[in-house]
C-alpha cells in the first residue's frame, strides 16, 4: 500500500559526517558491489569500457564552500536515499511497489510490482532513485536490509555496506528515532541537519556540517614586498604602458 505509516517502530538511517568524508568513493563502490550481488535486480552498467553510464544507489558529489571570511573549504558530499518520514516517492507510486516499512522506516521498492514509470524518481528532491535501464525497475538504497538483519553474517558486518567500508568513519548507522542512540547523540552534539527542509520530506538521514576551520593564522598573510616595479622592469612596464 502506498500510503505512509503514521509512525514507525524505529527510524533506521544514516548520519553522514561532511567534516570527515575524504571523497574516496569507497562507499559508492561497496554499495554497488553488495547491491549487485544480493537483493533485487543487479545494478547494471552501460558501455562500461566506452562512455560508462550505470545505476548507483550512492554517489559522492564534491563542493567548494566559500565563507564570508577566510579560505574556501572542500566538502565531499555522499548522497543516497534519506528514508524520509514523509516520503513523496511512496505516495505517488501507482502500483504499490514503493513502500515504507512500519517496523524500521526503511523505504523499499518491491521490484515485482514496479512498472518503471519513473514518477517516484521525479518526486524525490534528492535524486536518490535511479531507474535501472536493463532491468526496467526502480532502484534505490535499501539501507542494506539484507545485511542489517542477516544472522549469517558476523555481527560487525550487520551494518550497511557503505558504513562498513568507510575508511574515515564518516558514515554512521543507527536508530534516529531513539534519542539515546549513538547516532542521535552525535546529531545533537554536532548540529546534524536535514537536506532541503523547505520541501517538507522530513528526512531520517542527517548530515553533520563541516567543523569551522582554524582561524589561528587568518589575516596575517605576509604583506607584499614589491607593489611598484623598479629598475629595468619598471622602465619596461612604463614603456609598455605608453605603447
Amino acid at each position: 500500500m502506498t500510503t505512509l505509516p503514521s509512525q514507525t517502530d524505529t527510524k533506521l538511517g544514516l548520519v553522514i559526517d561532511l567534516d570527515t568524508c575524504v571523497g574516496c568513493h569507497a562507499c559508492v563502490v561497496s554499495c554497488k558491489g553488495w547491491n549487485t550481488q544480493n537483493y533485487g535486480a543487479p545494478l547494471s552498467d552501460k558501455d562500461a569500457y566506452g562512455t560508462p553510464e550505470g545505476t548507483f544507489l550512492n554517489r559522492v558529489h564534491s563542493y567548494e564552500v566559500q565563507p564570508d571570511q577566510g579560505a574556501a573549504q572542500t566538502v565531499h558530499f555522499p548522497k543516497s536515499c534519506l528514508h524520509c518520514e514523509d516520503a513523496p516517492c511512496v505516495t505517488v507510486c501507482p502500483t504499490g511497489a514503493s513502500y515504507k516499512r512500519t517496523e524500521d522506516g526503511i523505504v523499499l521498492v518491491n521490484e515485482a510490482d514496479c512498472m518503471g514509470c519513473g514518477l517516484c524518481a521525479w518526486s524525490c528532491p534528492y535524486g536518490a532513485r535511479e531507474l535501472d535501464l536493463m532491468a526496467g525497475v526502480m532502484k534505490k538504497c535499501t539501507l542494506c536490509v539484507d545485511r542489517i538483519y542477516n544472522d549469517n553474517l558476523p555481527e560487525e558486518d550487520r551494518i550497511p555496506a557503505c558504513v562498513r567500508t568507510c575508511p574515515s568513519g564518516a558514515r554512521h548507522f543507527g536508530d534516529l528515532g531513539d534519542p539515546n542512540s549513538d547516532v542521535s547523540k552525535l546529531v545533537a552534539e554536532r548540529g546534524g541537519m536535514d537536506l532541503m527542509p523547505e520541501l517538507g520530506t522530513k528526512p531520517v538521514n542527517k548530515y553533520l556540517p563541516p567543523r569551522p576551520k582554524d582561524t589561528l593564522d587568518c589575516g596575517v598573510a605576509l604583506e607584499p614586498v614589491a607593489e611598484e616595479a623598479k629598475g629595468f622592469l619598471g622602465w619596461l612596464d612604463k614603456a609598455l604602458e605608453k605603447m
Partner: protein, 291 residues
C-alpha cells in the same frame, strides 16, 4: 525535465480525446448513426491512443495493470482508474447514439463529468510535484483543463464556443508561464539548502560525482529546452491560439475549412507548448549538479 515523446503525446491527445468525449456526452453535436460513429471514432482514437502512448513510457509495462490499485494515494493511479471508467461509461452512451438512435442524457452528463475528472487527475500528476516548482501551482490544472475544453470544442465543431474557450485557454497558458517563471525566481531551494552548506558559505560544485551521464541527468536535468524557451513560447502560442481563432473568424461561411485549419494548427501548437512544459521545467535535483 526530459520531454519524452510518449508523455507529450499522452497528455496532448488524451486531453483532446477526453475533451471531445465530454462535448459529445452533452449532445454537442447531438448526432446519431454513422455521424456519431465518426466523432466517437476520433475521440476514442485520441483518448485511447494517448493512454497507450503513456504505456510506451514504462520500463516494465507488464506491471501496468497493477497501477489501478493505489487510487487512495496516487494521482497516477487515479488517472488510470478514471480513464478506464470514463471510456466505459461514454462507450455505453455512444452505443445508444450510434446503433439505437437513442440519447441517454443523464449517462452522457455523467460521462462528461468523468472526462473532466480524468483530465484533472492527469494534470495533478504534474501539479503534485514539489520537486518541480514550475509545475507545482494551480495554473497547471487550469491550463490542462482549458486546453482540453478548447481542443474538445474545436473537434466537436462548436465554433462559437471554441472561440471563447480558445481565449480562456490562451489566458491559462499565459498565466501558467507567468506563474511558472515566478515560481522559479521565488523558489527557496538552491545548492545551499540542497547540501545544507548554505549556512557555511557560497557553495559551488567543483567535481561531479560521475564522469558519464546517468538516469538523473538524462531524465531530470534537461537543459536544452531552457535555451529557446521564449521562441518556442511565441511559436506555440501563435499556432495554438492566434491562427485557430483567426481561421474560425475568417471562414465563418465555410466552417469545415476554418475548423480543419484551426484543429491542425491548434494541435501543432499544443504539442509545441507541451514539449516546452516538460523541457523548460527545472527539477530541484539539478541543484546538486550545479545546473
Amino acid at each position: 525535465m526530459h520531454p519524452a515523446p510518449s508523455v507529450i503525446f499522452f497528455t496532448v491527445f488524451s486531453g483532446l480525446g477526453f475533451g471531445l468525449l465530454g462535448f459529445l456526452g452533452l449532445g454537442m453535436p447531438g448526432l446519431n448513426g454513422w455521424f456519431a460513429f465518426t466523432f466517437y471514432f476520433i475521440a476514442y482514437a485520441f483518448a485511447v491512443g494517448g493512454l497507450l502512448a503513456s504505456v510506451a513510457h514504462l520500463a516494465s509495462p507488464m506491471n501496468a495493470i497493477k497501477s489501478f490499485s493505489q487510487w487512495r494515494s496516487s494521482w497516477l493511479s487515479r488517472e488510470g482508474v478514471l480513464a478506464v471508467v470514463t471510456l466505459v461509461v461514454t462507450a455505453v452512451y455512444a452505443v445508444g447514439r450510434i446503433f439505437f438512435d437513442t440519447a441517454m442524457p443523464t449517462l452522457g452528463a455523467i460521462g462528461s463529468i468523468l472526462c473532466v475528472l480524468t483530465v484533472f487527475s492527469t494534470s495533478m500528476i504534474y501539479t503534485q510535484l514539489k520537486t518541480v516548482p514550475r509545475w507545482n501551482s494551480p495554473t497547471t490544472p487550469f491550463m490542462f483543463l482549458s486546453y482540453s475544453f478548447a481542443g474538445g470544442a474545436l473537434l466537436a465543431g462548436q465554433v462559437t464556443l471554441a472561440l471563447y474557450l480558445l481565449i480562456v485557454a490562451a489566458i491559462a497558458q499565459l498565466l501558467n508561464w507567468r506563474v511558472g517563471d515566478q515560481r522559479m525566481l521565488t523558489s527557496e531551494t538552491n545548492l545551499g539548502t540542497a547540501t545544507g552548506l548554505g549556512n557555511v558559505g557560497v557553495v559551488r560544485q567543483y567535481e561531479p560525482p560521475h564522469s558519464g551521464k546517468n538516469y538523473l541527468l538524462n531524465e531530470m536535468v534537461y537543459v536544452v529546452g531552457r535555451k529557446h524557451a521564449r521562441k518556442v513560447r511565441r511559436i506555440s502560442f501563435v499556432a495554438a491560439f492566434l491562427i485557430p481563432v483567426l481561421a474560425l473568424l475568417a471562414f465563418r461561411d465555410a466552417p469545415h475549412i476554418g475548423g480543419m485549419l484551426a484543429i491542425i494548427f491548434h494541435i501543432l501548437g499544443v504539442v509545441g507548448s507541451r514539449w516546452l512544459y516538460f523541457a523548460e521545467a527545472r527539477h530541484v535535483v539539478a541543484n546538486f549538479y550545479g545546473k
